[in-house]
Symmetry: C2
Subunit: 255 residues, 2 copies
Amino acid sequence: MSPKTPSDQASATTDNALASQTNIKTILKQLESDGIIGISVDCVIFGFDDNELKVLLIKSDLEKFDNKWSLLGDLVHNHEDLDQAAYRILKARTGMDDVYLEQVKAFGQVGRHPAARVVTIAYCSLINIEHHKLKILDNELHWHRVTTLSEMAFDHRMILNVCYEWLQKRIQEHPLGFSLLPKQFSLRELQNLYEAILDVKLDRRNFRKKFFSMGLLEDTGELESDVPHRPGKLYKFNYDKYQKKERKKWFGIDF
Amino acid sequence: MSPKTPSDQASATTDNALASQTNIKTILKQLESDGIIGISVDCVIFGFDDNELKVLLIKSDLEKFDNKWSLLGDLVHNHEDLDQAAYRILKARTGMDDVYLEQVKAFGQVGRHPAARVVTIAYCSLINIEHHKLKILDNELHWHRVTTLSEMAFDHRMILNVCYEWLQKRIQEHPLGFSLLPKQFSLRELQNLYEAILDVKLDRRNFRKKFFSMGLLEDTGELESDVPHRPGKLYKFNYDKYQKKERKKWFGIDF
DNA sequence: AAATATTGTGTATTATTTACACATTTAATA
DNA sequence: TATTAAATGTGTAAATAATACACAATATTT
């Protein structure tokens, strides 16, 4: 939001390299004269376990980063879309492909990668930890608490923060939270999820009232088991009904 | 949100090209074997005039696009951040550098550029047309109505749509709309702006009540001039007060 | 001086959000 | 089998926010 005045401002009347008129020669010339920029995708994979939001990380083996924790990323292949690259990375690391995945932001600070100029596109992914007990443990792949995280490699700490804030906002206006839960869940589990992600305490009755009033929870008729107290009803989220619901583009101005 | 299963899934146990452990050699090898991907920035520059939302476009001179309209873009230089590239393009094309600018999304479909693989990062910019009567008119730079737009070059129509929807949402929760207005504005102008962007009719009294209740409009003591009727008071937006206002991360779940 | 066009203002109604307490149900325990 | 423990399931009153709606005041033009 704060304006910058780059010193290398191109002449508006003579610059013929603008992308709208870019041809392959121009692109190659530019890349030769100006250096190559790599493109990667980094996946911020969130899970929910033990009433805490977790993120999936590996150990970086760049010397420079001295075994710091790192997001799961890879260079984008020439023949694949960005989304495809993100799904590929997820599949490679977790074995899962039926996951929630959404682009969050591109990060392109000049010095963000020590070895080369690499612009990375951050994707947020939500997976149900119960459904995926990690079997591939390359590079010490592990779940980490989001709130108590030590230093990370690259600018991954910042990327994670941005994605976490994105998630806090997103989960309030889209039903992505259900991707973190089993297909059937109790309202307590759902509330725990929201409380953990948003870091707030919510009133139980009002929370229930709110969700029921949206009319998207379906009573499965089943009950929790293995709880040392009265079991709650299990619900599932009705995606069909959600899809059909008309989206309002007017929420009310407020800032 | 819909899962994909790319056919070129990497082996999780053997793929050593993951970005967390990428070194320059790996990157270059990848680029050599897999081809080069260019990175550009495209600016979606919105303006507000004649009670309509406008967007700044140029004529593409790629033959393939047969003089179709195009966003303002350029390749990202090796030594500049993505934001800097966006500011550079803006400055080059409009001469302005005190503008609102924000990244919206990366677009990386494989076939989106006819000449080469180019991933583009779309930025949204809002400028006050009154303050910038266009003087540089290269490639037929002109303002266009957002609502009645013919076909565009590349995937720019889609990018524009995404940015327009982003704007509709964003303007309701952040005070960026003021960037489209003169420093001093009447409430009628402000309401016209919201009505045009959101494509809704709003109740005048409720609109005023809402904005006054936010406590961010400052009465300048001045009145409109050159209106053929009773002039309205002129206000300015108090950014300082807005900045100091504490942001609530809890808006209320609703979807 | 009259006509025109838009500003500026308040209230009643409805909808939404919030605060709050107790009986019920199951599992565990005595 | 009776008791305890722990969480579920439920409703209402109060406060806040959103909506619908009409008329007098002011500057300009004729």
